[in-house]
């Protein structure tokens, strides 16, 4: 399967957890990469240092009543932190047996930032 890219418009993220609109995960997905983008430079702005940003992707097996974590950055990370090579953060889950449950089901992103409020965008690439 060719990689499918879901783009999510940039949003203002603050202490209250926000969610994206739902997308349906393809039936054959085995790899998910959730990549942050920094459209207005908030992530690397030193004024926002000290904030803790938490983000990830979750799925529902009951039509959106309850949600389970699929991939994320766990307890969160400092605003401004970058990958080893200086690129913007991403999280990845590969070949997860948990992906079986998520396939063909609604998925959504979640994010929160405490105490800073920043603008962040994201793309999700799914492939196998």
């Amino acid at each position: 399967m060719a990689a499918t890219v879901f783009s999510f418009p940039s949003v203002v993220v603050g202490p209250a957890t926000i969610h994206s609109t739902n997308r349906t995960l393809p039936a054959s997905v085995d790899v998910i990469v959730l990549q942050l983008s920094d459209p207005v430079g908030d992530w690397v702005n030193p004024a926002n240092a000290g904030g803790v940003f938490r983000y990830g992707m979750e799925y529902s097996e009951d039509g959106g009543n309850t949600w389970k974590g699929l991939a994320g950055n766990g307890i969160g990370q400092p605003v401004g932190s970058l990958n080893k090579d200086g690129s913007l953060p991403n999280v990845r889950i590969d070949w997860g047996t948990g992906l079986v449950e998520a396939r063909n089901n609604p998925c959504r992103l979640y994010a929160s930032c405490t105490p800073a409020t920043i603008t962040i965008g994201a793309t999700v690439t799914v492939s196998r």
Binding site: G74, N83, D85, W95, T97, V100
Partner: protein, 242 residues
């Protein structure tokens, strides 16, 4: 009981931050092992609702850290696992499901200290299993900073869990690591070693061992008669048929 890898390993990965999480499915009563590498010298802690994890080995060589944690008798279904490493900036972790282990006290012997050095090969400190039927896990972080970095387990150890190779080659953006295992049927002192194509500059490695549940025979390459192995077994069958 015979120890077996169940399903595919799950890789959870982030090139920054102290923790990652992912959905990890399991059959209730089985065991989960979570091993991998982190970019720094932090602790290695694993949580999954319904499970109780013990960090069996954890340490670092400079900024290259490794860890292995385990939980017996885990909760069934798809449940979020979180791996958290204090002070890390990037985590690569593999979760592996095992059957055939006890429902408590699965660690067979205490792990030696994390090993760390420079150059190749990468190797662990030695560890002796107390129970004959056991499974060793080991992980190596080469610390090259190079993408790709090819790490290859030696000595008959495997890094295949289901369809997944427990190997991350990108040591530039994320943490390169190889997680390998060896199912054994006799007690002995063992180490694991890896080759690394670009030369490991500042590596770290860890090793742990888990025992089989009591009862039943183990079906392992060793019992199948290494050095006969599968190929040797077929040759023996041919000889017997003649």
């Amino acid at each position: 009981m015979a120890i077996a890898i169940v399903g595919d390993a799950v890789k959870m990965e982030s090139g920054s931050g102290t923790s990652v999480n992912g959905a990890v499915s399991a059959t209730a009563g089985n065991a989960l092992i979570a091993g991998g590498a982190m970019f720094n010298s932090g602790s290695w802690a694993v949580t999954r609702t319904g499970d109780t994890y013990t960090t069996d080995t954890n340490g670092a060589n400079g900024t290259i850290g490794v860890g292995i944690a385990s939980a017996p008798n885990v909760a069934g279904g798809s449940v979020t696992m979180t791996v958290t490493c204090s002070a890390a900036n990037g985590v690569t972790a593999y979760a592996v499901q095992l059957s055939g282990l006890p429902t408590s006290a699965i660690r067979d012997a205490n792990s030696p200290a994390v090993n760390g050095s420079g150059g190749t090969p990468i190797l662990t400190n030695s560890l002796t299993n107390v129970t004959a039927n056991a499974i060793y896990f080991a992980c190596a972080a080469p610390g090259t900073g190079v993408n790709p970095t090819t790490i290859t387990p030696l000595g008959g150890w495997s890094d295949q869990a289901g369809t997944v190779t427990m190997y991350e080659s990108n040591d530039a953006t994320v943490m390169a690591v190889d997680v390998s295992y060896l199912i054994v049927a006799s007690t002995a002192s063992r180490t694991e070693s890896w080759t690394c194509d670009v030369g490991a500059s500042n590596w770290a490695s860890a090793i742990a061992v888990y025992k089989a549940a009591a009862g039943g025979a183990q079906d392992t390459p060793e019992l199948r008669g290494r050095p006969y192995g599968l190929r040797g077994g077929a040759q023996m069958a041919q000889l017997l048929a003649q």
